[in-house]
């Protein structure tokens, strides 16, 4: 319960940053998606059940701060959680470059999924080229912010000790301890 309360607070803070602070500093395509990075991190470090609940919660938060209807980001984040859980069994998620590559992949997947859902379910989808042009800058922005966040997490972990595993960093996550 504590984890989900914390998740809710962090998710709401990230959504606020994305809707009120980043628009003042960055053009739309260059705004990083902090919630996506958080979802990916949780998908790598938590159990499937907890990661799914986190994806549901963070997707609902993102839906509340964007678009017109609830459910789009919930679907997208749940799909990303599932895909990441499957992939994390195959790859060494301790590798930092691989983690950043996963973030790039997740950004790409997110845009494809949103394009798909909007094209098939919405009354009118935004022009397709909008997604295409947005993908490269978004990938770069997400990788840049994710690398900063990972460095900060690493510092925090050094301060707090390695009692909580952090995926993709020096210490293996709880889930990956053999």
């Amino acid at each position: 319960m504590r984890l989900f309360f914390l998740l809710f607070m962090v998710g709401a803070l990230f959504a606020l940053l994305q809707s009120s602070v980043f628009p003042l500093l960055l053009s739309p395509n260059w705004r990083p998606n902090l919630l996506l990075i958080l979802v990916l991190y949780l998908a790598l470090s938590e159990s499937l059940f907890r990661a799914l609940i986190a994806g549901l919660l963070l997707g609902a938060i993102q839906d509340s701060f964007s678009g017109t209807s609830l459910g789009l980001y919930i679907s997208v984040y749940l799909f990303i959680v599932l895909t990441t859980q499957l992939l994390s069994e195959q790859f060494n998620t301790e590798s930092r470059p691989l983690l950043l590559l996963l973030i790039a992949g997740a950004t790409l997947l997110q845009n494809i999924l949103i394009g798909f859902f909007l094209a098939f379910f919405a009354t009118a989808a935004p022009p397709f080229h909008l997604f295409l042009f947005a993908i490269p800058p978004q990938i770069l922005a997400n990788i840049f912010v994710a690398s900063i966040m990972l460095s900060l997490l690493l510092r925090c972990q050094r301060l707090l000790g390695n009692r909580s595993g952090l995926a993709g960093l020096m210490y293996q996550s709880k889930r990956h301890v053999s």
């Binding site: 628009p23 678009g67 009118a124 022009p127």
Partner: protein, 272 residues
């Protein structure tokens, strides 16, 4: 006599010296510009000492002014820098308020022309995604707003409220792909639907033979039941007619620059 001289010799000497001094003074009064040997000697002798003393005094003064006095100067400098900063901030605030005042005057003038009661609101956030075009304003149900109310700016239509909270609302911009506004070309009264295309608008269902030209003003037709008639939507940027087909492709640039939107008006009721 000798006894007398011997007795008052010091007194006599003093009187003689005094007389000599008076005579010397009296003589020198007439020789103002002439420098005596004595004066020259004294000046020559004292000059190096005076220079040294002067240098020492200057050095001391300089040390005092440049070091001890500097401590105070530095403090004063810091105070002045701080004062300068606060004055600059105040100046910026005044400039900001002046600009806001200009914008609000334009907005009020626009709403006055509309003849509809309107509520001013501040834009406090944008959409957290890149594909949707919505904004968040600082007025909600507590201010009497409800979903569906039209939102305008001084330049034209902004959008309509789609979600409401007690103290904030989400506004769907006319450029969002899910937005469709009943519109007409002001010059020719040609009707169509203004559909959002993220950065611009397009007119759907504009018949192929309809007279639409670049630069034409697109306004709301009032048919949709949300926006009053005659509000500016955008200017026609380009018109394309395919070889076949019933309709023409019309691209419209919105009159409102959504990237610089700060204040809006929510139209809260019918005609006044």
């Amino acid at each position: 006599m000798r006894e007398l001289l011997k007795r008052y010799r010091f007194l006599l000497l003093a009187v003689i010296l005094m007389l000599a001094a008076v005579i010397l003074y009296s003589y020198n009064l007439r020789q103002k510009t002439a420098t005596t040997f004595f004066e020259r000697a004294i000046l020559t002798f004292s000059a190096p000492f005076q220079v040294s003393i002067d240098e020492i005094v200057d050095g001391t003064k300089s040390t005092w002014k440049n070091y001890f006095w500097l401590v105070d100067t530095r403090q004063r400098n810091l105070e002045l820098v701080q004062e300068n900063r606060s004055l600059r901030v105040e100046l910026q605030q005044v400039e900001e308020i002046t600009l806001q005042n200009v914008r609000l005057r334009q907005l009020l003038a626009f709403v006055d022309k509309l003849d509809h009661p309107a509520l001013p609101a501040q834009v406090i956030g944008e959409d957290a995604s890149t594909w949707a075009r919505t904004i968040i304003i600082d007025k909600g149900s507590n201010a009497g707003l409800s979903p569906g109310l039209p939102v305008v700016a001084a330049q034209g239509v902004v959008g309509r409220i789609i979600k409401i909270a007690p103290n904030s609302s989400r506004v769907l911009l006319i450029t969002d792909a899910s937005s469709a506004v009943a519109a007409l070309i002001q010059r020719t009264r040609t009707r169509g639907i203004a559909r959002g295309r993220s950065e611009y608008l397009s007119i759907e269902y504009a018949l192929r033979n309809a007279d639409i030209q670049g630069g034409d003003l697109l306004v709301t037709s009032g048919m949709g039941g949300i926006f009053p008639k005659g509000l500016p939507l955008g200017l026609v940027k380009s018109v394309e007619k395919d070889q076949f087909g019933l309709f023409q492709q019309v691209v419209v640039t919105p009159t409102v620059d959504f990237s610089y939107l700060e204040e809006v008006m929510v139209m809260v009721g019918g005609d006044r």
